[in-house]
């Protein structure tokens, strides 16, 4: 059954944050306004239409929501206040649940209770593990000769690092399997024939866009790009340091302020702290288009991220000031916030876009290359036909 119209999908999409179905009457103003619109990539009207009609397969193959950075221009100019930007966000949430084969994503997006329960379960698990594996050393060992707290005495960094690595493998496994799923839905199921060599020639786009978020700079509102870039680099830095190089990052020795460990740490912390504060401020003020409408998962994400950062800062402050017990408790709290945040947000919820977006750009390029190839082939065939007639 190809392209069967499905009126039931509307009810489903409502849970992902679509508020107004009747608003859009397809004038195309949003598409005309969007700086990312190009041939074959019609933001965001076409997806809205597919959503209205419930064309599941077309939607599953749509890359557009990932390419959108939600500058909000479309919603600002919409003559019917139909909120096309927010519809793209809702579609993104829906697609996250479509790519996720475990079904957890759908659970999180459709039920507040499920999301909070999951957070608490993971937090409790972390607490139990912390109690089991943490060791309270002899009081004389609490403070290092420099006057800082010997955190690795409480929490042997190897243990934490081991947990990290388990989590990393789990997250990577889930994300990669979801991306494979996405690849099937976007490329294979849509009948797109990609030339083998293009998988390599287009790969640079994935890397480049991941690092630079270059596409965002095409949007008219430049400040957003800076904020977003700052946040992304901060996050990636911290993620790499915490997950891959924790033994280097979490030391008992307090280095001088210009040591790369501290410089990188401060940069990342500043980025996350300022970024999350900025987004919390915007989301509660509700003046800008892109922060007017918040799904509850948006709030969970930003609040968890903010709290992780805050607790991280406190750990640092207490540690260098030699407040041992405070460091100890806040460190556990930090893990209890950070772990559920990563476990939920990265593969199943909002943060998955860190992987989906660059891959969407990559897939979009593959699609385009395939189309161009097809066009060339068609032209060649026509030319040959003409020649044979002549």
């Amino acid at each position: 059954m190809e392209n069967l119209v499905n009126p039931k999908l509307r009810d489903e999409l409502k849970k992902f944050g679509v508020q107004d179905w009747e608003g859009c009457y397809h004038c195309g103003q949003c598409t005309a306004n969007c700086p990312l619109t190009e041939q074959g990539q019609l933001f965001p009207r076409k997806d809205i239409r597919s959503m209205q009609m419930g064309l599941k397969k077309t939607l599953a193959g749509s890359l557009e929501p990932w390419l959108c950075y939600y500058c909000g221009d479309c919603s600002k100019e919409c003559p019917r206040n139909a909120n096309p930007g927010e519809m793209m966000m809702a579609l993104r949430r829906y697609l996250t649940s479509v790519y996720d084969w475990t079904g957890i994503s759908k659970l999180i997006y459709n039920s507040k209770i499920a999301e909070f329960a999951l957070i608490f379960i993971i937090a409790a698990l972390v607490l139990i593990l912390s109690i089991i594996y943490s060791q309270v050393p002899d009081r004389s060992l609490w403070i290092t000769p420099e006057g800082g707290v010997a955190i690795n005495q409480f929490f042997p960094v190897e243990y934490v690092h081991f947990g990290d690595m388990v989590m990393f493998v789990l997250l990577a496994g889930l994300l990669i399997s979801n991306i494979v799923n996405m690849y099937f839905k976007v490329i294979v199921n849509q009948g797109i024939k990609v030339h083998f060599i293009n998988y390599f020639t287009e790969f640079w786009a994935l890397i480049w866009n991941f690092i630079s978020q270059k596409k965002f700079s095409k949007c008219d509102s430049k400040p957003y790009w800076y904020v977003h870039l700052f946040l992304v680099t901060a996050y990636v830095t911290l993620f790499v340091m915490v997950v891959a190089f924790l033994t280097w990052f979490q030391t008992d020795t307090i280095y001088a302020w210009y040591h790369p460990q501290r410089i990188l740490g401060y940069y990342a912390t500043l980025g996350l702290f300022a970024g999350t504060l900025y987004f919390i401020y915007q989301r509660s003020r509700k003046t800008k288009e892109n922060s007017k409408h918040s799904h509850y998962t948006d709030w969970t994400f930003i609040v968890l991220l903010f709290l992780s950062t805050l607790s991280g800062i406190l750990v640092h402050v207490f540690r260098i000031n030699g407040m041992a017990l405070a460091t100890y408790y806040i460190y556990i709290a930090h893990l209890m916030i950070l772990t559920p945040m990563l476990m939920i947000e990265v593969p199943f919820s909002k943060w998955s876009h860190l992987a989906y977006r660059p891959f969407a750009i990559y897939f979009a390029r593959l699609k385009k290359a395939a189309e161009n190839k097809q066009k060339e082939a068609n032209m060649e065939a026509t030319y040959k036909l003409k020649e044979s007639i002549a």
Binding site: N3, L4, V5, E22, K46
Partner: protein
């Protein structure tokens, strides 16, 4: 012999004429013509000062013929005739040369255009000397009115006329009153009962002492003219004759049969029904498929037979809103039912119709757009026999989609009644290419027809909804009452006239007259024109072998002189 004193006025029409025609040169040339007393040019002849100029000159220079060269006579001939009347001159001592629509606006060579203008004015000058004084004529109006068709328009007009105390003959071909509206369950946009509305109207009509109703009757013949019509009316038992002064045609329309549209499979595929069938179903109070079950998915297809050159090119006007009405009715009767509204353009004209669309779109309905010109949906029966699938390209997304439905409602077009040509012929009016009656003027006079005393109202003129039909019916009633109140009406002056001295009684004229206005006088052995029946087409004049019959204001010598005029100037200046 009368001395001709002609005044010629050339209009600039601002720059409209003066830009392409050397107006002053025309004046100079025309001054040289015989009988021309004065020739002048003026910025705007139709303006009050322009008309005053003519009046003043007539009095001062004792002019007895006037020529104005300006726009089309279809535009301002009545204006200038009035000016002549004001100056005490017979309005028919006037001729107009059309140097705007047929010269300055259509030509690009100023020299040639000026030459052509000179020719046309010269033709008018030559013609006008042969003009004769013609006097206005009036006939008495018979106060009764014949209304054909007792639908919502016919009955509304009948009540309006009868309420003012005038007699109405109301003729209906069916055995009961009410027309199309009687077959409808609810009305849009307020979803009130159609039956209640129409039954009140029927009751008032039936009980009215001044309305004579003839059901199951048809009109065999109409003769006469405005104010004095006669008709032969028959039903199965008897034939009778009626006399009346005005006619109102309100014969309505009928539904289109969609079985000729291959794609939809009407009558071939079960559960594909027309809006008329669905209306019956709603009337009975139960929406059901052929197996008796309530449908879970209903598709509504718009523009079935409308707005498509293969069927009817026009918009049927009411189906979009009727479809919205159905959506409301379905969602209140079967709230779980999915409704697919497959439309081409949602046309919500009329008071509160856009509001109906806005509120309906919040129901459990999905609007899908199709291309009604090139890509009609295809309905196929599914193997299970219970559902059909509808396939088409959805225009807003460009995707080829398909829908599974238990029932399909075709919003069928409306079309003109099959016997409209016949009625048009009886009443002396015409029908357009779709079979609807043609009004006198599409904007300025949508109620009257080109035949005096014959009016049209309701959907026999074009598809329309109930309020519009009633508006037109009441407008027609007002027009008819105005003529009745006046008691008499002015009739055509430019009729035919027989010169009995020359007439040999061959009756060629009588055989060509479309109005039977010419009869043979056995005593005098000559033909006679009934000037009240005559409409002045002049066919008789050109058929008369002896030149005895004259078409007033278009006589042979008037036209021949005009030919001489337009060609003389051509040769002289060429």
């Amino acid at each position: 012999m009368e001395e001709y004193r002609i005044g010629v006025y050339i209009c600039w029409c601002g720059t409209n004429i003066a830009m392409m025609v050397d107006v002053e040169a025309v004046v100079e040339e025309i001054k040289k013509l015989p009988n021309v007393t004065i020739a002048k040019d003026y910025k705007y002849m139709c303006s009050d000062p322009g008309q005053d100029l003519i009046v003043k000159d007539i009095k001062e220079h004792h002019l007895n013929r006037i020529v104005v060269a300006a726009c089309s006579p279809r535009m301002h001939e009545p204006t200038f005739r009035k000016a002549l009347e004001n100056a005490g001159l017979n309005p028919y001592f006037f001729e107009m040369a059309n140097i705007r629509e047929q010269v300055s606006w259509v030509h690009t060579d100023r020299i040639e255009a000026t030459r052509k203008a000179k020719g046309l004015v010269a033709g008018a000058v030559k013609r006008v000397v042969h003009h004769k004084a013609l006097n206005k004529r009036y006939v008495d109006i018979h106060p009764a009115t014949l209304i054909i068709g007792a639908g919502v328009a016919g009955m509304s007009a009948a009540l309006e006329i009868a309420d003012s105390g005038q007699k109405v003959h109301l003729v209906e071909q069916c055995n009961q009153l009410g027309g199309m509206v009687r077959k409808v369950d609810l009305n849009y946009p307020y979803l009130n009962s159609s039956r209640q509305t129409i039954s009140q109207l029927i009751k008032n009509t039936e009980e009215h002492p001044d309305i004579q109703i003839y059901t199951e009757s048809k009109i065999d013949k109409i003769s006469g003219y405005i104010g004095n019509f006669r008709a032969l009316l028959s039903n199965h038992q008897e034939q009778r004759e009626l006399e009346f002064g005005n006619i109102l045609i309100a014969t309505g329309l009928k539904s289109f049969d969609p079985s000729i549209i291959e794609n939809y499979g009407y009558k071939r595929i079960p559960n594909v029904i027309t809006s008329a069938d669905f209306e019956k179903m709603l009337y009975s109070g139960l929406i059901h498929c052929e197996n008796g079950k309530e449908p879970g998915n209903i598709a509504i297809i718009h523009c079935v037979g409308s707005r498509n050159e293969n069927y009817h090119p026009y918009c049927s006007r009411t189906c979009c809103m009727t479809a919205l009405k159905y959506i409301n009715q379905i969602s209140s009767a079967a709230p779980e039912c999915n409704i697919y509204d497959i439309y081409a353009d949602m046309r919500a004209i009329g008071k509160d119709c856009e509001e109906l669309y806005a509120s309906t779109s919040k129901k459990n309905v999905m609007f899908l757009m199709f291309d009604q010109q090139h890509d009609l949906p295809v309905i196929k029966q599914n193997g299970n026999g219970k559902t059909v699938s509808i396939e088409f390209t959805e225009l807003l997304s460009g995707e080829s989609i398909h829908i599974q439905a238990n029932m399909v409602v075709l919003m069928t077009a409306v079309e003109s009644q099959a016997n409209n040509k016949e009625i048009a012929h009886l009443a002396g009016i015409s029908t357009d290419k779709n079979g609807f009656f043609i009004e006198k003027h599409p904007k300025l006079d949508p109620v009257a027809t080109t035949t005096e005393g014959v009016y049209i109202a309701g959907t026999c003129q074009s598809p329309k909804d109930i309020p519009d039909s009633i508006v037109q019916a009441k407008a027609a009633a007002a027009r008819i009452l105005a003529t009745i109140a006046k008691g008499k009406v002015q009739v055509e002056v430019t009729t035919a006239q027989v010169n009995e001295d020359i007439c040999c009684g061959c009756q060629c004229c009588a055989s060509v007259c479309p109005y039977s206005a010419i009869s043979y006088n056995e005593d005098k052995k000559v033909s006679e024109v009934n000037e009240i029946l005559c409409k002045g087409c002049g066919t008789c004049a050109s058929a008369c072998p002896s030149g005895a019959i004259v078409s007033k204001h278009f006589t042979d010598n008037q036209i021949l002189s005009q030919i001489t005029g337009v060609l003389e100037m051509q040769i002289e200046t060429a």
